[in-house]
Every structure is written in structure tokens, then in C-alpha cells.
């Protein structure tokens, strides 16, 4: 339990720093801008109370916002997927339900499940983020393209991190 709290907290800070120090400086042709900090929300344990889920998501979004001069933008999209997460988890739950204290890793939940779960979360997050950012529908398709490409890169980085850091499983 304590280990879980510590690992989640350290993930919180590590992801914020990776996001603002490295990934925010990546802009491939103005199209691709990965937001890997979503991984924190994705990996929060299943038994976390809803209030804490939203609170943590708000704070990681705000943390990224503070460094990217986009007050509230990331917070809004993070809170949105935090709200969405329980419904999604219920929808794609394995038949026997989640074991308590399970961690949502590739090793534990299986490749297919994790990719489905993570990519839905990432897509929703990016959708909210990109459209809140431009705040109009005139450039709908170019924004959509931007969003999909960024989501692709985000997903690739998330999968990469899964294989690099959680290779040992458990």
C-alpha cells in the first residue's frame, strides 16, 4: 500500500518534469506534441476514491499548466478524463472484474486490454485539450489531424515506458 502511494507520487513528479522539460519542447512540424503525463491518470490504482482521482488529475494538469503558460487547459482535460475513467473501466472490465490492488500495467492486464484502455484515455484527453486550445471549429480537420498524430506519439511513448520501466511485471 505504502509502496503504491510512493510510486504514484514519484510518478506524478517525474511525469510533470518529463513533460515540461522534454516533451513540451518537441514540436515536429507544428503537428506533433505528445502529452505523456496522462500516463499518471491512466496508471492510478483502480480502488482510488473518485474524489482523489479528480483531485490528483486536477493537480497534475495544473502542474503542467504552470510550466506551459496555459493556465487551466491541461487541468480541464485531465479532470475530464479522470471523470470519464471509472465509466471506461467499468465498460472494459475483464469478466471476473478487477483484482483489488491491481496495477494497470501491460504485464498484469495484458497487451490488448492496456492498449485499448490507454488509447481511449489518450484520445479523449487530446481531443479535449486540442479543441479547448484552439476553441473554434473552423480548423476542425487540421486540429483533428494534429490531435491524432500527437495521440499516436503519446501512445508510442507510453508503450515504450511500459516496456522499459515495468519489464519485471509485478
Amino acid at each position: 500500500m505504502l509502496i503504491k502511494i510512493i510510486s504514484n507520487f514519484s510518478r506524478f513528479f517525474v511525469l510533470i518534469f518529463v513533460q515540461v522539460l522534454i516533451l513540451n519542447n518537441i514540436e515536429l512540424g507544428g503537428y506533433v506534441n505528445p502529452y505523456v503525463y496522462v500516463l499518471f491518470i491512466i496508471l492510478l490504482p483502480v480502488e482510488i476514491p473518485g474524489g482523489l482521482l479528480i483531485l490528483f488529475s486536477f493537480f497534475i494538469g495544473l502542474g503542467v499548466d504552470m510550466f506551459s503558460n496555459s493556465m487551466g487547459l491541461h487541468a480541464a482535460s485531465s479532470v475530464f478524463i479522470a471523470f470519464f475513467r471509472p465509466f471506461l473501466l467499468k465498460r472494459i472490465a475483464p469478466r471476473e472484474g478487477y483484482e483489488s490492488e491491481v496495477s494497470f500495467g501491460v504485464k498484469k492486464m495484458g497487451m490488448q486490454w492496456f492498449v485499448t484502455y490507454a488509447s481511449i484515455m489518450v484520445l479523449i484527453h487530446h481531443f479535449v485539450l486540442f479543441f479547448l486550445e484552439i476553441f473554434r471549429f473552423e480548423e476542425f480537420f487540421s486540429t483533428l489531424l494534429r490531435m491524432f498524430l500527437s495521440a499516436l506519439v503519446t501512445m508510442a511513448l507510453i508503450m515504450l515506458s511500459q516496456f522499459v520501466f515495468y519489464r519485471s511485471g509485478k
Binding site: G50, G51, I54, L55, S57, F58, G61, L62, D65, S70, M71, G72, L73, A75, A76, V79, F80, A82, F83, P86, L132, F135, R136
Partner: protein, 277 residues
């Protein structure tokens, strides 16, 4: 009350979501003018387009004032051109120091009356002595030399157009600085003639004619026209050349008056020299 608390507790997740999402969105709009402006625009796209149309109409109505302001600004800018300055350094000095004194100033004016079809044409302009105009000031527009001020009243001035039998402007060939006189022989308002270019000068079609430095009225180097035809009659010492005037006299609106601030000094000096002989 108890029911309310139970309700709140049951829907705590949703309420927290609304609270934090609301807070985030509030932060977005509070911190970004861009989003605020967009909110206003997109929320009122109908009223926005109406306002846009009204703005367009208002801009059109104010075109005249805008034009005047721009013309005045242009006059100011022309006054700052290098050719408007008199280089105030000793002749021997090769260092061109920043010692410049203003020699010419430009005043913007509009043509309110004009003719091109007579032998002697005059212009009337909408500025007068109250604006600092005086007889014998030069008149130019953005294309070149227009004429010379003749009479001045409080608010108006008349200008001897270049299309006048008495107008004679000291000009030079831009390429080699040989000077001559530009006159108008009547006929086409776009054609003048160039006199007193000596026959040893190699003249060719397309040579540019600009005002010379001999004039007390115009700054040096203002465009006058381009040579279109020339001939050297046997026994003459000078070419007779036809010039395509650079100014379109049938379409004159915005002009600038040139005031030579050192004219008096120059005239006084030259008169003193002549009287002494």
C-alpha cells in the same frame, strides 16, 4: 437537509468533477485574453458580423480624413529624406559628418482646380498663406514636378502648371548631369521638350530627366520625365528633345509644396555679388 447531504455524498464524484472542470475552465478564460476574445466572438457571431460591416462603412466614410493624415505624414517623411537636407560640412572635408541642416520642407495639399487643355494652365490648391505657402514655392507630387506657386491667398494658392508657356524648369540628365531646361510647347499634356542640351552630349531614348541642383525651388533629383525622341538639326548647337512627362496632369489630386528654407539667403548672396559688379 439530511437528504441533501446524502444526495451530495452520493454524487460526490460528479460534483467534484463539475467543480474542478469549472475551476479549470475559469482559469483558462481568466488567464487568456485570446480565449476571452474568442468566447465573445463565437458567442456573438451574428452581432460580430454586423459590427464588422458597420466598421467597414465607418472606415469608408472616414477615408478622407485618413487620406489627409497619410498625406501629412508623407510630407513629414519627405522632409526627412536625405535630399531635403543641406550638407553643412566644409568643402574640403571628405568626412560626411552628421551635420545636416534642414533645407527643404514639404507641405501636403490637394488640387481643387486644374486644367490641361489651354496653352497656359493653372492649378488651384487648398492651402494658402495660413499654412505657410508663399509665391515661388515648388509643387511636386509622388511622380515628379508639377509646377510653381504663383499667387497665395489665406486659404488657397494658384500654381503655374508645368503646362504653361512661362514655366521653365532647370533639369539635368540623370546619367551624366548635363543640364538643360524643361519647357512645354503646348499640345499634349504628357509631352514636354528639353532644351539646351549641348550637341556633344550622347543622348539616347529613355534617358531620365531630373531637376538640377541649380534650381532654387526644387530639391535636386526630382523626376521630370523620360526622353522619347530627339534630333540635332544641322547648324544647331543644342538638341531638341521630346520628353514624356512623369506626372499625369489630367489626374492630379495629392501634391506637395516644397519650401526652400535657404532660398532667401541664396538670393541675397547672389544679388550682392551681381550688384558688386
Amino acid at each position: 437537509m439530511r437528504n441533501l447531504i446524502i444526495f451530495l455524498w452520493k454524487h460526490l464524484f460528479f460534483i467534484l468533477f463539475l467543480l474542478f472542470e469549472g475551476l479549470s475552465v475559469f482559469l483558462i478564460f481568466e488567464n487568456s485574453n485570446f480565449h476571452r476574445a474568442n468566447m465573445i466572438n463565437s458567442a456573438n457571431s451574428v452581432s460580430g458580423s454586423i459590427l464588422q460591416t458597420m466598421l467597414g462603412a465607418r472606415e469608408y466614410i472616414h477615408l478622407r480624413e485618413t487620406n489627409d493624415a497619410l498625406a501629412i505624414e508623407n510630407a513629414e517623411l519627405r522632409s526627412k529624406l536625405a535630399s531635403s537636407f543641406y550638407v553643412d560640412s566644409a568643402g574640403k572635408s571628405t568626412i560626411n559628418d552628421s551635420l545636416h541642416i534642414q533645407k527643404y520642407i514639404f507641405i501636403a495639399a490637394k488640387v481643387i482646380n486644374n486644367s490641361t487643355n489651354k496653352r497656359n494652365n493653372y492649378l488651384t490648391i487648398d492651402k494658402g498663406s495660413l499654412h505657410g505657402l508663399a509665391p515661388e514655392m515648388g509643387v511636386v507630387n509622388s511622380d515628379g514636378v508639377v509646377g510653381i506657386v504663383k499667387d497665395v491667398s489665406d486659404h488657397y494658392a494658384t500654381v503655374i502648371s508645368l503646362l504653361h508657356k512661362d514655366s521653365k524648369i532647370s533639369v539635368k540628365l540623370k546619367k551624366n548631369d548635363y543640364f538643360g531646361s524643361l519647357v512645354w510647347d503646348g499640345g499634349s499634356p504628357s509631352e514636354g521638350s528639353l532644351q539646351y542640351i549641348p550637341k556633344h552630349v550622347i543622348l539616347s531614348k529613355g534617358d531620365t530627366i531630373v531637376t538640377s541642383s541649380f534650381s532654387r525651388i526644387f530639391p535636386e533629383g526630382i523626376l521630370c520625365g523620360v526622353v522619347t525622341e530627339f534630333e540635332l538639326n544641322p547648324g544647331d548647337n543644342f538638341y531638341t528633345a521630346k520628353i514624356k512627362l512623369s506626372v499625369d496632369f489630367s489626374n492630379l489630386t495629392q501634391i506637395y509644396l516644397v519650401d526652400n528654407l535657404m532660398k532667401k539667403e541664396q538670393i541675397k548672396l547672389e544679388e550682392a555679388t551681381e550688384n558688386a559688379n
